[in-house]
């Protein structure tokens, strides 16, 4: 009797925890997206799935889908190959200035794609120093840009997991005579697998829904599902075809998530409660170091180009572009100065961060608690995947969906100032969940039970067991969420109000107006956005509570 009561209250508690995130996602994601898809299935008010199915038979759709899948898969594979050694170097080795480098790596994440397009073109374009590589206008160029954007996701997620990895199994294996390679292959890699698979699936989703990169780097020669949806929705208003592609997108995403969930299957007990101290650099770290250098080069070169461009006026060095950021540009190209937009961006990012952290923590807790039955495990698995969906669905569909579904009471929300931070939080949420879940799941449940048996109150058990392990990943996640929000352009550009634009929106606008000043200001604003991200990331890392004994 007592036991049944216990189980019931357990289920109720978990359901209550899941309620808020599920409700938010339903209103701000499921409803708008299904609203748009429904318009495609009910074109004239009557159900006509035939039109949608016809679209799926078009050869063009097959080509577009195939290109999306293979380009995203290659970019993901490359990001992992580069990201894992880089994570090792930046999170396990004692390298001077590594926290600065780690912060800098996140910069691409916030750069508006238009700006990255400019930077890449200056490097790889006709007149650039790397023109001989012939990357411009090729699929390879698109893939390189996708890796540039996303390698930080792998470095950060894998790095955070690596730091909190219990080193004793590896040391034991080594003591028993395993070679470094054997230790890596049999001990470290399996322990990192959850974080690795998580990061890879996030990267894949980001790549598959990339929009600006494909257009700027591909020179319109390549179309992905995302660019196709954009074209169909905003230019042709062919909602049937757009709905078909949105459904296709969802199917691919769900398929990917199922595969990921299988591969992720978590070994437990891998999470240590203390961060391992960084190791001295040894000769055998050389391969990892060289891969890391290459990654830094890939990320650093375009950023360097951008910084150099922002500091140049008429061919000579100058800070003028930065000074002008307090103005509205040539001929009042802007309605508010860039400095005001930066304020708006920071406020919005702050809101998006706490929203995504709150929701993300709730989701992570619900998803990682040990299941008592098969059905329960299945429900948790579904929930886990559910919160990844916003990454895999077109920002255009979501943005237009907001307009047509959140327009009347009780959900008259499309004019709400909170819509932008919420939309950004939805994009950041999967990052938060994917960063925290592997760590929470890695905590041996017996530790909590033990704490309880020693008389710790539930609160105390959480404070001594969960919080120490989750603390760092939580900081990493908040940094991620903040960066994702600062740089978000897709959904934001559909929602933002003219009086309160964010920095990416302002940059886009500056680039869209003639006048050399405006171009220079756009570059300077991008550098400011990048620097802001880097500083925030550094501050977040500094906030880490020093663990006594480590260092």
């Amino acid at each position: 009797m007592a036991r049944r009561h216990h189980a019931l209250s357990r289920h109720l508690t978990l359901a209550a925890l899941a309620l808020l995130p599920v409700a938010v996602l339903s209103v701000f994601f499921v409803l708008p997206v299904s609203g748009m898809i429904a318009r495609g299935f009910w074109p004239e008010g009557s159900f006509d799935p035939g039109g949608v199915l016809d679209v799926l038979r078009r050869p063009r759709v097959h080509r577009v889908l195939w290109f999306t899948v293979w380009s995203s898969a290659s970019a993901t594979a490359l990001a992992v190959l580069l990201g894992v050694p880089t994570a090792y170097v930046l999170h396990r080795l004692r390298i001077p200035g590594r926290s600065v480098v780690r912060a800098a790596l996140l910069v691409p994440f916030v750069l508006p794609t238009v700006v990255v397009g400019v930077a890449f073109r200056e490097l790889f374009g006709e007149s650039g120093p790397l023109a001989f590589l012939g990357l411009e206008g090729t699929a390879l160029g698109i893939i390189a840009a996708l890796v540039f954007f996303n390698v930080a996701v792998v470095v950060r997620a894998v790095g955070a997991a690596w730091e909190s990895l219990d080193r004793r199994p590896g040391e034991a294996a080594a003591a028993l005579g395993a070679s470094p390679w054997q230790v890596w292959w049999t001990v470290t890699l399996p322990a990192l697998r959850p974080a690795l698979v998580s990061a890879a699936s996030v990267v894949f989703l980001f790549c598959a829904t990339a929009f600006g990169v494909v257009l700027t780097m591909g020179g319109l020669r390549y179309a992905t599902v995302e660019t196709e949806i954009y074209l169909l929705t905003t230019q042709l208003l062919d909602l049937q075809a757009a709905a078909a592609l949105s459904v296709l997108q969802l199917v691919v995403v769900v398929g990917l998530l199922l595969v990921a969930a299988r591969t992720r299957a978590t070994p437990s007990g891998g999470t240590a409660r203390v961060t391992a101290p960084a190791q001295r650099v040894r000769v055998r770290d050389l391969p990892a170091l060289s891969v890391a250098s290459f990654t830094l080069l890939l990320v650093g070169l375009p950023i360097g180009t951008l910084v150099a461009g922002s500091l140049t006026v008429d061919g000579s060095w100058s800070l003028d572009n930065f000074r002008k950021l307090t103005t509205k540009g040539d001929n009042d190209a802007l309605l508010v100065p860039v400095t005001d937009a930066l304020g708006t961006s920071l406020r919005t990012a702050f809101d998006a961060t706490w929203i995504s952290l709150t929701l993300g923590l709730l989701v992570a807790v619900v998803v990682t608690r040990r299941s008592r039955s098969r059905a329960e495990r299945r429900v948790r698995g579904l929930l886990d995947g559910f919160f990844m969906l916003p990454l895999g669905v077109s920002a255009v569909t979501l943005g237009f969906g907001f307009l047509i579904t959140l327009d009347r009471p009780p959900l008259e929300l499309r004019d709400s100032p909170m819509l932008v931070p919420i939309a950004q939080a939805l994009v950041a949420l999967p990052l938060v969940v994917r960063t925290i879940v592997p760590v929470l799941a890695g905590i041996d449940d017996r530790q909590r039970q033990a704490a309880a048996s020693l008389g710790a109150s539930p609160l105390r058990a959480v404070l001594t067991v969960d919080v120490p392990a989750v603390w760092k990943p939580l900081l990493a996640a908040s940094g991620f969420a903040f960066a994702a929000s600062l740089g978000e352009f897709g959904a934001t550009s559909f929602l933002v109000r003219e009086q309160e634009p964010t920095v990416p929106v302002v940059i886009f606008r500056l680039l869209g107006h003639p006048g050399a000043d405006n171009y220079g200001m756009a570059l300077a604003a991008s550098v400011v956005l990048a620097a802001t991200t880097a500083i925030v990331m550094l501050a977040v890392e500094r906030l880490r509570v020093p663990t006594i004994g480590a260092v």
Binding site: H6, R39, V114, G117, R121, E122, E126, T216, G219, L220, R221, Y222, T227, L231, T234, Q235, A272, V274, D330, D332, L334, L335, T344, R347, D351, L357, L362, D407, P417, M418, V420, D445, R446, Q449, A450, A452, P458, L459, A461, V462, L463, D466, V467, S493, F494, V496, R497, E498, Q499, L511, G512, H513, P514, G515, Y519, G520, V545, T547, I548, A550
Partner: protein, 385 residues
């Protein structure tokens, strides 16, 4: 706030007791209190510094919370701009608060309006152009309003559409060239569409794509007007001549054009007839670029009262305001377009360097609406290999 979440959520799901393992040797106890204090202080600092969109908007929503008749909402594209003092003047004269919802390009705005016609997102729309005008009017997005047009504006009123849309401004999409480039190389300047496909201009032209850019679409329409059904053959020649296709005007003009911000390599670019007014030297005596007036397509931007608007009266007042001499005179500097009012004096550099074509190419809006998809599909087949 974070603090509460952290503790309560975990605590509630506490598992039953089991045997415990001893803490690992050498692992020191962690201080959760400090962690929480740091988190809490982070959250607190954030809210103290006003790092939230919510605090700031409270005051504003208090002002806006009145009925629909005290505010007028303008739906427009992301290139919209008007000097602040003019906006203030409108608010003062009309007693209405002006709220601007600007996002996306002309196409996105138009389609947004069509999608939300049953519950319009604003009272009045600005920025639907002649290439997109047909569909929203057919779909009943706009209410009729016969505004009093300034002198010269009549010529822009669209047949069949009449009072649904009021012309506000106009500009032509034209090929632009870097005149110094051709002078230096002692090459003849190109003049016509045919010229662009000639070997001498090989690898020198950059144009934004029709599928992703509204000037790009206008250029496609120019070629359709010029070559009729043979336009795909012309485009094939253009592509064979190593014409560079990019995603938007930004990439073409700012990125690849030799007189744009990024100092690119290509001396021929698709832009507007107004662009040469922005490449004038400091003395104001010469411009480094010029528009090729035989390659132009007119783009007129319209405003219209949205059917079912909360504040149709305010919407009409705003359209009148957009037609007023002050706004018309501000259009060149703010939005790089010509006013429809022919009596308005243009800025000095415009009068000199923004030369308008006398007989641009045109295509009927209804024909565009009917064929847009077909044309774009064919265009993509020709341009993407």
């Amino acid at each position: 706030m974070l603090r509460v979440r952290l503790s309560s959520t975990h605590g509630a799901a506490d598992p039953p007791n089991l045997i415990r393992l001893a803490p690992a040797k050498g692992v020191t106890m962690y201080h959760p209190a400090r962690a929480l204090a740091a988190l809490a202080s982070l959250a607190l600092t954030g809210s103290l510094l006003g790092c939230s969109t919510m605090g700031g908007d409270d005051d504003k929503s208090a002002d806006e919370s009145g009925s629909g008749s005290t505010t007028v909402k303008l739906v427009t594209h992301d290139s919209f701009a008007l000097p602040e003092d003019l906006q203030a003047k409108f608010e003062k004269d009309s007693g209405l608060q002006l709220e601007i919802l600007a996002s996306g390009d002309a196409g996105a705005v138009t389609n947004k309006l069509v999608l939300t016609k049953d519950s319009p997102i604003g009272d009045v729309a600005f920025g639907v152009d002649n290439t997109f005008a047909s569909r929203p009017v057919d779909e009943g997005v706009f209410e009729e309003y016969a505004a009093k047009l300034p002198a010269g504006a009549d010529q822009y009123v669209l047949e069949d559409i009449g009072d649904h849309l009021t012309p506000i401004d106009n500009a032509n999409v034209c090929v632009n060239i870097d005149t110094g480039y051709f002078e230096k190389l002692k090459l003849p300047e190109p003049e016509t569409l045919d010229d662009l496909a000639k070997p001498v201009y090989r690898g020198r032209f950059v144009v934004p794509g029709a599928a992703t850019s509204s000037p790009g679409m206008a250029f496609l329409l120019t070629t359709i007007a010029e070559y009729g059904d043979d336009w795909p053959a012309y485009w094939a020649k253009l592509m064979d001549n190593d014409t560079l296709l990019v995603d938007g005007w930004e990439s073409a003009y700012q990125g690849e054009f030799s007189q744009g911000g990024g100092k690119g390599k290509r001396p021929i670019v698709l832009s507007y007839d107004t662009s040469p007014a922005f490449t004038v030297d400091e003395a104001g005596t010469s411009s480094t670029t010029k528009a090729l007036l035989h390659t132009c397509f007119p783009q007129t931007e319209y405003a219209g009262v949205l059917a079912g608007a909360d504040n149709p009266e305010g919407a009409r007042a705003l359209i009148d305001f957009l037609l007023s001499p002050e706004v018309q005179a501000a259009l060149p500097d703010s939005m790089y377009v010509f006013p429809v009012d022919e009596n308005v004096e243009l800025p000095a550099t415009w009068a000199k360097f923004a030369v308008q074509p006398t007989d641009p190419h045109t295509v009927d809006p209804a024909e565009i609406a009917e064929n847009r998809e077909q044309w774009l599909t064919e265009w993509r087949d020709v341009t993407t290999r």
